[in-house]
Each structure stands twice: as structure tokens, then as C-alpha cells.
Amino acid sequence: MTGEREVVITSSADVVAVRQLVRSVAIEVGLSLVDQTKIVTAASELARNALVYAGGGDVRILVVENGHRRGLKLIVTDDGPGIPDLELALTDGWTTGNGLGLGLSGSRRLVDEFDLLSGPGKGTTVTVTKWAR
């Protein structure tokens, strides 16, 4: 099945739902077990950031195609305070909460394409893609 799925994030149960949905779409797209686990983990990080730092947000899950390859694209959006310094936020170990500070930087390494759009008062949108090999 192609088409778009959407999960609105308002609680940690929704983050669990995102993980489960991303897993099933990743299987459908034909990602390997390792790549499934990587995109599921990235989804978990981004969805939880939206929940923790913006009080909630929205995750869209899309099946994309590029020539012969299929992939899974995630668009995680929130209307929160935004991130003032993107470079800093993407530094391993940097956290303003009490996390490990690896969610954003680690997610970037877990996926094939990573795009972060944010600014003070502008909310945050992270778009990532994982391609089937």
C-alpha cells in the first residue's frame, strides 16, 4: 500500500504508535531488518523530541520512490519554540533537557537523507528518508 499515514503526537503512547506504524511501513517498503530498526529508532527520537520540547506534533509517514528504489520518508512537525542554534542541537551530547543529547545527531546518522528546518518561534520540521537497498 502506498499513500500517506499520519499520527498526531500528544502522549508517549503516540510515540509507541509511531514506532509500530513505521515498522510496518518499513517492512512493506522492503527495508532490511537493520534498516527497519534504524528508521524506527529515528522516528522514535524525532517524535519524542516533538512531544518533549514542543508539547506535541505530528508525524507523516510516506512511501517514496526513486527509480527502482523504494524508501520510507518521515516528516515530523511541531509548532513549538523551535531550535535557536541548529549546529549546537546537532552536536553529540548536547541537551537542554536531561537526555543523552543523541536523538537529533544520532537520527541524522541512522537515515540516508536528513533535513532540519527550525528557528526561534517557528516550530521545527525534520524530514528524513531511508532507502531500501
Binding site: 508517549s12 509507541v16 514506532r19 534504524k38 529508532t41 544520532g106
Partner: protein, 279 residues
């Protein structure tokens, strides 16, 4: 709406109002539902038409309740939708025998669309309700399936199963630490074979638990790290430092036995020797 369509629609509304009892009776038979349940719906439908502003909020509320209770009772979603669609059948039959058939026929299209919408609406709420039930069950299952088990004298283990969120991981970890206090065990194994993904949050809980266990004088081993999890943890950048990790629970147990000075030998096999001398 054109004048003609308007009269046609009014004709159906009249039909609905004057034949209430007959319609509900027949509908109940087709839908295989109780007439009480259906007459409540029917009255809400009439009321919403009465107000003329097509306010379907009440009837949607009732349908949502119906569909949720049917979801819990294990009905298929098509059953519930079909029950609603059943009303079309009844009204079509009635319109056919109506003297002003031509006029009523025009209104049937409108009515049909209305019932289709309502039927599909039950489908939607049904799916939502099912999803919620599944999620609740998964949560309950997770809580039930995270016991702290005694493996050996002085060795306890927690097999973590399912996808973990912060609250539940914390419950499990607290339970483990409490068991260490209660039993005086000095060795603990946290087995994550059943965890489909380890993100920074789960990793952080694991790390904190190991540190807390150490402060209590116990040693912790993390086992069941499958290849895909190992890959992901490394890429994410989480470092487990000097924490002992093992691929399987059996490896972790063997390691713990060694650390605890417990020796386990293979039962000696019967040794039979047959020698033929001077054959």
C-alpha cells in the same frame, strides 16, 4: 437545492415520520439488532432532519457509541456498517410502494447518500476504537510480561518484551532494583531479546539502572543484543562504557556463573569401553 429536489426530500422525511414503527421493526430484522437500540438512532435521525440544518452531531455521537461497543464485543466493522445501511433497504421498499413513487424516488438519492455517510462514519469510529483496544492490550501485556525472575541463588533476571516507553521502562527498572534489595542478589541480567528497538531513552534507562545496581553492590549484565539493535545503538552513538553486554541470555548466565564463582559441569557420560583382546 432546487425546489423539486426539496419536495422529493420532504416526501422521504414524511415517509420516515409516518411509518416509524413499521420501519424500525423491519430494520431490526435486516440489521439483526435490537429495536430499542435502533429506535434511539432513528429518533436522533428524525430530530436532526427536523432542525432542517442537517446537524448530525447527535446521531454521530450515538453511532460512535454503538460502533465502539460493537468493536469491544468483537463484531466485524462491516457488520456495524451493514446494520446502518439496512435502513436504506427498508426505506427503498417503502418508497416503491408509495403512491407518489416518482417524487419519492428523487429523494432516495439524497437519503441514500446520508445513510452512506453515516455507515462510513461507523466504520471510522470502529477502526479508531479497535486501534485503541489493541494499544491498551499491548500496554497491559507489556506490564504483565515483565517479571523479575530468580535464575539462581543470588542471580535475578528481567526479560524485557515489547516496545518500551519511558514510564514502563522505569517501572521495570524500579522493580529490578527493589528485587535486588529484597533478595540480596548480587547479580542481575537485563535481557532485551524481546525489545524491537532501543532508542536514546531506553538506552538511558538501561544505563541508569546498571549504575544504580552497582551503587547497591550488584553487578548487571545486559543480554539479548541482536545484530540490528547493536548496529543501531552504535550508529546512534550510545556508549555502554564498561557495562558487560552479551548476545544471548545463556552467555550472560554463563558469564554471571563465572563471576559468582558458581561451577556448572556437564553430567558425566556413561563411559563404556569394549575391548577385544586377541581377536
Amino acid at each position: 437545492m432546487s425546489v423539486q429536489a426539496d419536495t422529493a426530500r420532504r416526501r422521504i422525511e414524511e415517509l420516515l415520520r409516518t411509518n416509524e414503527e413499521q420501519i424500525i421493526g423491519r430494520w431490526a430484522k435486516i440489521a439483526k439488532a435490537s429495536s430499542e437500540e435502533l429506535s434511539e438512532l432513528y429518533r436522533a435521525l428524525l430530530a436532526s432532519l427536523d432542525e432542517g440544518k442537517n446537524d448530525l452531531a447527535d446521531i454521530r455521537g450515538l453511532l460512535a457509541d454503538l460502533s465502539r461497543s460493537r468493536a469491544r464485543a468483537g463484531f466485524a466493522p462491516s457488520d456495524t456498517a451493514r446494520a446502518v445501511f439496512g435502513l436504506k433497504e427498508v426505506v427503498f421498499e417503502l418508497a416503491e410502494s408509495d403512491a407518489d413513487w416518482a417524487e419519492a424516488a428523487g429523494g432516495l438519492v439524497w437519503f441514500s447518500r446520508l445513510i452512506d455517510d453515516l455507515g462510513l462514519y461507523t466504520f471510522e469510529t470502529y477502526t479508531d476504537a479497535r486501534e485503541k483496544i489493541i494499544l491498551d492490550q499491548a500496554e497491559q501485556l507489556l506490564e504483565l510480561s515483565t517479571p523479575v525472575v530468580k535464575m539462581w541463588d543470588g542471580i535475578v533476571a528481567v526479560p524485557l518484551i515489547g516496545t518500551l516507553d519511558s514510564a514502563r521502562t522505569q517501572v521495570v527498572m524500579e522493580k529490578l532494583l527493589q528485587t535486588l534489595v529484597d533478595t540480596g542478589a548480587e547479580h542481575a541480567i537485563i535481557d532485551i531479546t524481546g525489545v524491537p528497538a532501543v532508542d536514546t531513552q531506553v538506552a538511558q534507562h538501561l544505563l541508569k539502572t546498571v549504575v544504580a545496581a552497582r551503587l547497591m553492590g550488584a553487578e548487571c549484565v545486559i543480554s539479548g543484543i541482536r545484530p540490528q539493535i547493536a548496529h543501531t545503538i552504535v550508529t546512534l552513538g550510545v556508549e555502554f562504557g564498561d557495562i558487560v553486554t552479551k548476545a544471548s541470555l545463556a552467555d550472560a548466565l554463563a558469564h554471571t556463573f563465572r563471576r559468582a564463582g558458581i561451577e556448572v559441569g556437564r553430567a558425566r557420560q556413561a563411559h563404556v569401553s569394549i575391548r577385544a583382546e586377541n581377536a
